[in-house]
């Protein structure tokens, strides 16, 4: 490599857990070549290919789109494909599975709870009545599209769940990404499903669990701002409540 000599190395301290052998997790240290253009995921792949094939971790696209390679890098949730070694060198890098999730093996964690939460908010366009295809598509202006575009950038990487202490303390909390995606569809001019989603979003396990720590938005690699989505949902849910109290005969939402 031209950009750095092959003798330069960086130390990885990797969280290891084997459900067959281990009662508790342990940390294993690997020395990997330090290269300026390498990310943590490159270093893990180097370990897997060159020195320890038993190391397990998820990854796919290597370019911050698939959302598979989220890990705790020195205690902060990151996409390991976007965490450059040069930002940590010469200090060692500690790699752990995303916090607040049960660990299946090494860096692989159990994401079932997230998938269930995501499904519960019906993250798709809900229509009271579908119009026939012959009537054409549902049109949308650029301004209507801009209303939800940012919340639609979510790649389901779950970094926000790892950053959220409320999830750690209250695992049933619906969580940042699921609420942001609920809002993505609530704000869509073609959607009519808000009152259905509201049963989950405004429930005890929903938005009111959030104490606005704000770290979900800070760690989001796609600038979705789930913390904003949740606070805005709190405002509209409060308005719903006032409407029901002051205007009970007007059920229209």
């Amino acid at each position: 490599m031209a950009n750095s000599s092959p003798t330069e190395t960086i130390r990885l301290e990797v969280f290891r857990y084997s459900p067959e052998k281990d009662e508790a997790p342990r940390f294993q240290t690997y020395e990997v070549p330090f290269r300026k253009d390498w990310v943590v995921l490159d270093a893990l792949n180097y370990v897997k290919d060159q020195s320890d094939g038993t190391l397990s971790f998820r990854w796919s696209c290597r370019m911050g789109v698939c959302g598979s390679c989220g890990m705790m890098v020195n205690g902060i949730p990151k996409l390991s494909c976007a965490a450059f070694l040069r930002d940590y060198y010469p200090n060692p890098i500690r790699v752990e599975p995303l916090a607040n999730f049960p660990v299946l093996r090494d860096l692989v964690f159990q994401l079932d709870s997230f998938i269930e939460k995501l499904k519960s908010v019906q993250p798709w366009i809900v229509r009271k009545e579908e119009k026939p295809v012959s009537e054409g598509e549902y049109l949308q202006t650029p301004a209507e599209h801009a209303r939800y575009k940012d919340f639609g950038m979510c790649i389901n990487c779950m970094l926000c769940y790892a950053a959220c202490p409320v999830i750690g303390l209250e695992p049933n909390f619906l969580g940042p990404a699921a609420i942001a995606l609920a809002q993505r569809y609530n704000f869509d001019s073609r959607d009519q499903g808000r009152s259905q989603r509201q049963e989950v979003v405004a429930s005890h396990e929903g938005i009111w669990q959030c104490t606005l720590v704000g770290e979900c938005s800070a760690v989001c690699p796609k600038h979705v701002d789930p913390a904003g989505a949740i606070q805005q949902a709190k405002v509209t849910s409060t308005m719903d409540w006032f409407q029901e109290v002051l205007w009970p005969w007007g059920t229209k939402r």
Partner: protein, 127 residues
């Protein structure tokens, strides 16, 4: 399969700056509430009569009372500023495709704060 559940230590909020600042922001409410209690006591003393009120004012001159006021003021300022700066999270306004910049939502809070403080100051000091 037995997934390993990592325990969450009670000291989680000491581990990272943002978590610590969050806890401090929540902690400010204790001082805001404590000052409110003090204020209610003051009103009660005022109701009891001039002598009770003046002895209460005298007790506020103790170093401990002054220290409490300084600390409570610092926490109240931290409370106000952090929450003002968070208002754009809850309030968004759009003009066409563009979202109003956060500063346009934060600034009116500060403006209202200054105007209301000046009005109260004027009302208190003129009398």
């Amino acid at each position: 399969m037995k997934p390993y559940v990592r325990p969450m230590p009670a000291t989680w909020w000491l581990r990272r700056g943002p978590y610590f600042r969050f806890m401090m922001r929540e902690f400010t409410s204790v001082f805001v509430a404590a000052y409110l209690v003090l204020f209610l006591v003051m009103i009660h003393r005022l109701y009891q009569g001039q002598a009770a009120y003046e002895s209460f004012l005298e007790s506020l001159k103790s170093p401990l009372a002054i220290l409490f006021h300084v600390v409570a003021l610092a926490f109240a300022l931290f409370h106000t500023i952090t929450w003002f700066n968070l208002t754009p999270k809850a309030l968004t306004f759009r003009i066409g495709e563009e979202r109003l910049p956060p500063v346009a939502i934060i600034a009116p809070n500060y403006l209202a704060w200054i105007v209301i403080s000046a009005m109260i100051g004027w009302f208190v000091l003129k009398g």
